[in-house]
Symmetry: C2
Subunit: 204 residues, 2 copies
């Protein structure tokens, strides 16, 4: 059955990318070796090389996976509620939802971005897209809240905040920092005054 073959091929490849995704997050891109990934997926290095010729190829696949996952997550948030505030709250709460991982490894987007910057890696731009996805979506939400002019700045502020919180919570290994910052940001979100364009929110 062609279906089976294709499915299997896809599955092994998918297994590799998913394992690499986690290992890149936990141990960093460079500190993760072919052997680490292969061992994790329980395949031979030869089989591994059959699916990916170079390490950069795996990185590209991992970034593509993260982009897809991110888009899917955001689409879910968008579908779950029509209220921009409610949507933005979802973003704020990622920090709490992934608390334990963040305390250990920081934010997957921020840490990958920083590592690639130091390696001066060609995939830098692709990793940047991960931030852009959040940025544009948040911008849309703030626009819907009537902050058209400042929407992008507000979106960027929220990204800045999330990266800072992840970095410091991880540095101090202190979940109280995380909880406290999230609570404060939620309160800020609640209190935010809709801009004068609020009435036109429907056009978003």
């Amino acid at each position: 059955m062609v279906q089976n073959m294709v499915a299997n091929r896809k599955k092994t490849r998918c297994d590799i990318v998913e394992a690499a995704n986690i290992l890149f997050y936990h141990h960093g891109y460079e500190h993760t070796s072919f052997a680490d990934i292969a061992e994790n997926v329980k395949i031979s290095r030869g089989n591994f090389y059959y699916h990916f010729k170079t390490k950069d190829e795996i990185l590209d696949a991992v970034i593509a996976l993260r982009l897809a996952e991110t888009r899917s997550m955001i689409a879910q948030w968008t579908d779950q509620s029509d209220a921009p505030k409610e949507r933005i709250r979802h973003f704020i709460n990622i920090l709490k939802r992934h608390q334990s991982k963040i305390l250990l490894y920081g934010c997957p987007v921020g840490s990958l971005t920083l590592e690639l910057a130091k390696l001066n890696h060609p995939a830098q731009k692709d990793a940047q897209a991960l931030f852009s996805v959040f940025r544009h979506w948040l911008c849309q939400q703030f626009t819907a809240l009537g902050h058209g002019e400042n929407a992008d700045k507000l979106a960027l502020d929220l990204l800045v905040w999330s990266q800072g919180v992840a970095t410091l919570a991880s540095a101090f290994q202190d979940e109280a920092i995380l909880a406290q910052e999230v609570a404060k940001k939620e309160a800020w979100l609640e209190q935010i005054k809709p801009g004068f364009l609020e009435k036109h929110r429907s056009f978003i």
Copy 2:
């Protein structure tokens, strides 16, 4: 002359640590090899090994150097002005002063901290001290401004902000983000209302 010997020894060692400090910042701890550092200082690997037995030893020395430099910088800020706001402004402005480097490599403290977390490196706690120095000093300044109860939270917020800005400015390679965020934070600092303990500021 004993003086010369000791001075030379100190100088070579110091050169190594300073080169490692820069290379760790630019390329990361793990991606920097003995050979890289030795080549940079223009000494042999053997000479290098004479001064540092293991890579961890260099890391400790680099962290110690950064701690010393940070303390000295902060001491300067403290000496330059008695006004807490003026002092805090110095902190905010690090981002602008080191703009070009931050765009390329992020914040040296944040990125090192994140890398060590992923390596699960024993020096994590030492690197954390770098953040603590800023945190406590900022806390003192906010206390002097009369925000005793919230001083530590305000200090942490400022650290969070600085880390976030560094990460995103670097991710987007966009100095406008940096300039805009710094300007906004400076405005916030200006507008901040002194707490009711302001009159007692002298005791700090």
